[in-house]
Amino acid sequence: MAGGTDLLVKARANAWELDAVVDIKNIPELMTLSVNGDGLSIGAGVPCYQVYDNAEIADQYPGIVDGASIIGGIQIQSRAGLGGNLCNASPSADGIPALIAHSAVAKIASVNGTRDVAVEDFCTGPSRTVLEAGELLVSIDVPRPAANSGAAYTRFIPRNEMDIAVAGVGVYVELDGSGQNFVSARIALASVGPTPILATEAGDSLTGKPVNDESIAAAAVLAKDAASPITDMRGTIDQRKQLIEVLTSRMIKQAAERARG
C-alpha cells in the first residue's frame, strides 16, 4: 500500500481479496523524490503534492505536474501518488498519460532482481499490470527533457474538479532551436481504451513538421483514430473520440508554448 486511496476503497468493497497489506511508506527507497541532470525519479510511494510542490519539477516536467494536480482533491493528493496511480492501472488515470509522453520507465524489483518496463507497456488492462507475484514498483524514472521541449496534460470532466476523466490527453513535444518546427512528439490518451494509450502515429506525424494549425490538426485526427473508447455512464464513443481530437490539438499547442518558454 502506498497512499491507499484506491486500495482501501476496493478492499472495503471486497473487490480485492487480500492476504495481507504491506505499508511501503516506511521504506526510504520507495519514498525518494529526486530531480537532477539525469532526470526525475519518483519513488513508488511519493504522494502527488510532493511532486507538484517541487519548483524544479514544475519547471521541467509541467505535464506530469498537470496530471498530479488533478488526481482527486487536496486530501487525496496528500496520500495518493503517481506510483499508485500507475499500479492501480485505471484506463482513466490522470497521472499516466504525461508519464508516457515523457518516456517514463517503471523500475520494478523482486527477489530475482530488477527490471525496467516502459510506462506505456505497464498496464495490460483495467486494474491489470505487468507486475507478477512478488514484484514491486520501486520508482518511476523520467529522462531529463530535451532543450526546447514542453509537455502538458488535460482531461475533460463535466465538473470543475474531483471527477473521473471522460477523455484525457498528455503531450510532450521537442522543438528545434527556432521554436518553429517539431523535432519529435509523444501523445498519450486516457479513458479511451482498456489501458492508457500511446498514440505513436499521431506523435510521429509531427516529426520535422512546422508548428502550425495544419500539422497539429492532422496529428489530432491521428490521435482520434488511435482511441478505441466504449460508451458508458461518463460518455459515448463518439463524444470521447471527438474530445480526443479537440484535447490533442489544445495540448500540442500548450506543450509547444511551454517549449518556447
Binding site: 476503497v9 478492499a11 472495503r12 481479496e17
Partner: protein
C-alpha cells in the same frame, strides 16, 4: 477485509497535542480509530471512499480523508482533528466566521470543511476566492451551495 493478520497494532501518536498509546486493529480506519477507540466523534463519516471530505483531519500538517488512512499508519505522527481547533479562550477564527456567515445548515460536513480550511489558511493566510474553491473541492456540502462557506473562509483569512 482479511483475517490473516495480527490482531492489534501498537501505535504511539499525538492527537490534538495529547499523546496516545493505542492498540489498533490492523484494518481499522483512522476515522474509526478516532471515533471508536478514542471517542473523538467530531470527525464525521460521509461517503467512506474519499469523495466527500467530511472525515478530514490533518496528519503531520497535511489534510487527509481519515476514512482512507489506517489507524495503524499514524504511529509517530501528529494528528489534528476538529476537537483541536477551539481553545479555552474561544472559537478558532474560522469557526467564528462560519457562525457569522451561516456557513452551515445540517452540520455534517462542517468539521471537515473547518479542518480543511484551516489547513489552507495555516500555510496561505490570504488565498484568493479561486484558491479557496480549489482547495475545498474535496469537501462536499449538500445544504449551503458553498457560497456561504467560501465567504466565511474569506472572512477568516487575513
Amino acid at each position: 477485509m482479511t483475517t490473516n493478520s495480527p490482531s492489534k497494532v501498537r501505535v504511539t501518536t499525538t492527537i490534538n497535542g495529547q499523546q496516545h498509546e493505542l492498540l489498533v486493529p490492523p484494518y481499522m480506519s483512522l476515522l474509526d480509530t478516532l471515533r471508536e477507540l478514542i471517542g473523538l466523534t467530531g470527525t464525521k463519516e460521509g461517503c467512506l471512499d474519499g469523495n466527500c471530505g467530511a472525515c478530514t483531519v490533518t496528519v503531520d500538517g497535511r489534510i487527509v480523508d481519515s476514512c482512507l488512512v489506517l489507524g495503524a499508519e499514524i504511529n509517530g505522527k501528529n494528528v489534528e482533528t476538529i476537537e483541536g481547533m477551539a481553545t479555552p479562550e474561544g472559537l478558532h477564527p474560522l469557526q467564528q466566521a462560519f457562525l457569522e456567515e451561516a456557513a452551515l445548515q445540517c452540520g455534517i460536513c462542517t468539521p471537515g470543511f473547518l479542518v480543511a480550511a484551516k489547513g489552507l489558511l495555516d500555510n496561505e493566510p490570504s488565498p484568493s476566492e479561486g484558491r479557496i474553491r480549489h482547495w475545498l473541492a474535496g469537501n462536499l456540502c449538500r445544504c449551503t451551495g458553498y457560497d456561504k462557506i467560501v465567504r466565511a473562509v474569506q472572512k477568516a483569512s487575513s
